[in-house]
Amino acid sequence: MASVASKLYSDDVSLLVLLLDTNPFFWSTTSIKFSQFLSHVLAFLNAVLGLNQLNQVVVIATGYSSCDYIYDSSLTPNGNFESSGSGMPALFGSLLEKLEDFAAKDEELSKEEEHEDRIASSLLSGSLSMALCYIQRVFRSGHLHPQPRILCLQGSPDGPEQYVAVMNSIFSAQRLMVPIDSCYIGTQNSAFLQQASYITGGVHHTPKQLDGLFQYLTTIFATDLHSRGFVQLPKPVGVDFRASCFCHKKTIDMGYICSVCLSIFCEHHKKCSTCGSVFGQSKLDDVSSVSNKKRKAPDT
């Protein structure tokens, strides 16, 4: 079995699944244009593919109302770097074409929606799930496969309604030992991405200067998993572990947990809206339970 292939598959061959945020509601508010951003990303993808001839790149677009695969380097014939008619490397001609199709379809789907005041979130949970399915397929393909990792290039704010789905994806990635790197280019902090990178052992970074995005991408996120042990990568600056409550979708740092289903509520309820348990005896229990001392503090 010590064939050429197994020798080529050393420990630094990587499969990079890039989740590209294409949410138009976010991109209309930024200082950097989407086309500028895309040129940074394309250069970065080229760099990753150039690092090792077995490296593989998959790009999934995270839209406002849909997600889809827009590029898979394993499907295009290798070494096809010559320019086609349009003067664009053929490698990314197909990516841009698909991205255009995707954006048009995404726009059509989101027309039916009425818009909220704040910037809408993009469908991170969908693209994460798709990326994990793809990686699962790579794992199935035999024991000679590139080391997969996921990179989220996200700018839209978190969508609290995706909380459960995003967390499910994070835990599945953790079980598969797939790190989720995240590069957040929006204005607020993304608790989802911070947690994703922290739990799965990936790198989270928020670039300060978007003009130099390519620098950030190549110096931080191009590093393969094997080399990460030797490189000084940015350390997490505090992770937001707060939860969002099920009743109002607010982010809270203290709340009530249903003992039956662990649903989170920001205020005391009589009945759990998730599992239907009735908390009739809660007041009685407060007095009798072992932990009554903690109830002395005023519940606000």
Binding site: S129, Y163, F246, M254, G255, I257, S259, V260, K293, K294
Partner: protein, 421 residues
């Protein structure tokens, strides 16, 4: 073969043993594997390993259907805060070698895997270990949430001695579990390898006592079915099963890892006040309240009293608030919002058109759904988003991911309506 060998070195004792069993050691590996049964002939008469994927998938579908049937109609209520004692019978019978190398070693091995899986699925729950030896029950570990300390204690004490006593074990566990808070689910899981129980008193009384304290007792037998175990499980609402081989034992054990359905009378529902501390930046310096020591680096700050603690989940030593991180809770949510099983797509040519519209690839992993020779391969479809998935993704989505990639890629207020219905 063994006769021949006997003639060559007839006086050696091990040969007598071999003869008694009728198989040599070298043969045994093949007899156990039954490797010839996993072969089939293909059209051209060549031997090929049997393609098991379809069988695996059918088995998995059956499991899924049973689960979803049980959940259908009612609101899903699960006991997510569990206090489980694992009782392992290390009596003389555990030294038997019908499970190789011995029942004891196999039990320890699979209990270790079970403990890890248990904490993965029930991060807020606690486990304690009890062993039975020489007719007496010993506490190996008290209830706790750290898998490593349990596994260490379990692996340290591997010897099988004396008789087994179900009553002594139940009495000990009952004593421990009576002290846990009322909202917790009290469970006992007994791995029983003996065929008898030597008890100091009336075991029926003990069983009634357990029933009264709402202990859910389950037993996994390693030898044969016993009336007293069955009676215990029936009375306390647990599961009784007997393992036929190692794989079966593993399956039976892992069945106990997902939380059991909550039965209203077993635990009182309650709202517990909890805090979600934020993790401090690496390299920051603070005095932690749990060790009363200066710690550099990671720590968590209690949202109520701003005290620093080192690890989660825990209780704040200053104000007594239960501190958890939201990932601890979120780990259990897939039990509450399970995704519906996918429907199998009949391989009919009439479906060709709709399939063509959605592409010939699995929506999750982009694998082609066309089988060999451009025939249609087996695939499944989600009821809500109508996307097609391959069988491997189907299993992965339901057993590990717990998200439908198709449904997550459509914008709609799905989860909100789910919670408000």
């Amino acid at each position: 073969m063994s006769n021949q060998r006997k003639r060559l070195n007839g006086e050696r004792e091990e040969d007598d043993e071999e003869d008694a069993e009728g198989i040599g050691e070298w043969e045994r590996a093949y007899v156990d594997d039954r490797s010839w049964e996993a072969l089939q002939e293909d059209e051209s008469g060549l031997l090929r390993p049997i393609d098991n994927s379809a069988i695996y998938h059918a088995q998995y579908r059956r499991r899924l259907r049973i689960l979803s049937a049980a959940a259908a109609g009612t609101r899903i209520q699960k006991g997510l805060i569990r206090y489980l004692y694992i009782v392992i019978d290390f009596s003389r019978a555990a030294a038997e070698t019908d499970f190789r190398p011995s029942r004891m070693a196999i039990m320890a091995k699979h209990v270790e895997a079970f403990i890890r899986e248990f904490f993965d699925q029930n991060p807020l729950s606690q486990i304690g270990l009890v062993s039975i030896k020489n007719g007496v029950a010993h506490t190996l570990t008290d209830l706790g949430g750290s898998p490593e300390s349990h596994i260490q204690a379990l692996m340290g004490k591997l010897e099988a001695l004396g008789d087994s006593s179900l009553q002594n074990a139940l009495e000990l566990v009952h004593e421990h579990l009576n002290q846990v808070p009322s909202y917790g689910h009290r469970e006992v899981l007994i791995l029983y390898s003996a065929l008898c129980t030597c008890d100091p008193g009336d075991i029926m009384e003990t069983i009634q006592k357990c029933k009264k304290s709402k202990l859910r007792c389950s037993v996994i037998g390693l030898s044969a079915e016993m009336f007293i175990c069955k009676h215990l499980c029936q009375e306390t609402g647990g599961l009784y099963s007997v393992a036929v081989d190692e794989v079966h034992l593993k399956d039976l054990l892992l069945e106990h890892a997902p939380p059991p359905p909550a039965i209203a009378e077993f635990a009182v529902a309650n709202l517990i006040k909890m805090g979600f501390p934020q993790r401090a930046a690496e390299g920051s310096m603070a005095i932690c309240s749990c060790h009363k020591d200066v710690k550099i680096g990671a720590g968590y700050t209690c949202p109520r009293c701003k005290a620093r603690v080192c690890e989660l989940p825990t209780e704040c030593t200053i104000c007594g608030l239960t501190l958890v991180s939201s990932p601890h809770l979120a780990r259990s949510y897939h039990h509450l919002f399970p995704i519906a099983p996918f429907d199998e797509v009949p391989t009919l040519s009439s479906l060709n058109d709709s399939r063509r519209k959605l592409g010939k690839c699995c929506f999750g992993c982009q694998q082609s759904l066309l089988g060999a020779g451009n025939k249609q391969g087996a695939c499944v479809t989600c009821r809500n988003c109508k996307h097609y998935f391959c069988l491997d993704c189907d299993i992965y989505i339901h057993e590990s991911l717990h998200n439908c990639p198709g449904c997550e890629s459509i914008r709609r207020p799905k989860s909100v309506s789910l919670m408000e219905e």
